[in-house]
Symmetry: C2
Subunit: 295 residues, 2 copies
């Protein structure tokens, strides 16, 4: 009843390590391998048994060494290695964003369960988890309401985002000179500059850089509630970037410039400058999002 996705992805990981030639001199002990791939020894043993059966690993007087080379066919495919939860999340986001679901729609657990090929339980657990993003809401003694990704949602989201970011930016500027975060900020600055130089081909790398930058600012003074909120931002932007490709290069170029101004403001440690650069960037991020919703 429980799928063996953990085992399958562990096997894939092991094959990759073998392919990299890491174990040419012989395989490590079960426990060491366990640590490397982050699963239990039970699973490691299962993987090793299977690899031995396939001849990819062979036993030679007491120790295990690599056997025949690894082929493409030895790997398990994507869907086989993702758990039900991840599966449901992807399918749900797809359903929500591409399905043109209108705000106010009632969500039917049974229907989604059939559509996604899981038990209703799985849908329910996902929705409970997902409800913290504020896009769906449980109706008492009844189903779920899809509240939708509306303009109001975006405005409320950004109101909070501005508050949190201004707070973190202010605290960042107060960090002592010797804080390692300054070094990391500078490294990020150079990554921005590099990206800007190759913007023609690498413009979609911005998404990840954006995420790392804003999380770094928050690290100045961690707060679990702000971190939780950042997860919402990350989710929204992750799927929004996939969905809205119009003018991506131009938008990202502008955003990089804003980030650079913001970074320099942080480095100046001038509160006024920081607040203004931060506000300016967030305002244009908000407007971009709103514009893509209006369509």
């Amino acid at each position: 009843m429980k799928p063996d996705t953990v085992y399958k992805s562990a096997l894939n990981t092991t094959l990759q390590l073998l392919g990299n030639g890491e174990f040419a001199a012989g395989l490590p002990s079960e426990n060491q391998l366990r640590g490397q791939i982050g699963v239990s020894r039970t699973t490691v043993r299962k993987v090793l048994r299977e690899l031995t059966r396939r001849g990819i690993v062979v036993q030679e007087d007491g120790t295990k060494i690599p056997g025949r080379p690894v082929g493409k066919d030895d790997l398990y495919s994507g869907p086989e290695t993702t758990s039900r939860n991840e599966h449901v999340e992807q399918q749900f986001m797809e359903w929500m964003l591409r399905g043109g679901i209108k705000p106010g729609t009632l969500i039917n657990e049974l229907e989604l369960a059939r559509q996604f090929g899981v038990a209703t339980n799985g849908i329910r657990e996902f929705l409970i988890r997902f409800s913290r993003f504020g896009l769906v809401e449980k109706k008492r003694n009844s189903g779920w309401l899809f509240e939708g990704f509306t303009e109001d949602f975006a405005l409320e989201l950004f109101e909070i985002r501005v508050m949190f970011e201004l707070r973190s930016a202010r605290l960042f500027a107060e960090l002592p000179r010797e804080s390692p975060l300054w070094g990391r900020l500078n490294a990020l600055k150079h990554q921005h500059i590099d990206l800007l130089e190759n913007i023609e081909v690498r413009y979609h790398d911005f998404s990840s850089l954006d995420n790392r930058f804003h999380r770094l600012v928050n690290e100045s003074s961690p707060n679990r509630f702000i971190d939780d909120f950042s997860d919402i931002i990350t989710l929204i932007f992750h799927y929004h970037y996939q969905w809205n490709k119009a003018d991506e290069k131009e938008r990202n170029t502008a955003a990089i410039m804003e980030h650079l101004a913001y970074i320099e403001a942080l480095q100046s440690r001038n509160r006024r400058l920081i607040a203004s650069a931060c506000r300016k960037h967030l305002r244009s991020a908000r407007d971009t999002l709103l514009r893509s919703l209006a369509k």
Copy 2:
């Protein structure tokens, strides 16, 4: 498999309405009753069938009228009328607060399921829902970690609370004179004064007043993320009040005075005064909470 708690609590509600003499002239239609008690007609019919069987309602040429008087024994008991979810929540809070569970403890779904008399599924769903409060966290491919109600938790909570409350208070002061919220604020002010006069006997009514006051301030300009956060505050204070009874009267008296100062500041519409009264009140609320944690 699904318990009939909805039916049982609907039956209790109907008995209460009957007891109040509301239906002395004859019962309303199924649909009207449905609206009054907030369940489906299916459930209403089930209730009526049972009440008729017991002779509490009798059929008289076409219409239904009250029959024999309602006795104590006709009511279903508390546990029979609460859903699994509510049950689990109460038991979990009890387990957490009175059980002296240390931060860092691993939570065992199976054990809790046995202890609370539900299927593991129920525990899991509860924990997923509860995790948004930041007190428990899921470990990948393994159990749940109880993070605990620590000093850090309280400090981080209050940092956000201050930000949100200052924002809402500022917006409250900007409401137009004719906003109905001013009237409601004034009504709450008088409730505070009344409570203060009878503080000796009614001091534990403050908890609910406190909650209503802070929610009113937030209503000045609703934001779903702030509302979500308020749920955390409510939960924490709800259980904290039950748990820490020391000096309750004194603490509440002081808090009422602070509220009154805060309300008057709002009514003055003076930003400085508002910010200072708000800060002062939240600082003492935070200190009270911290002091009770230290013990």
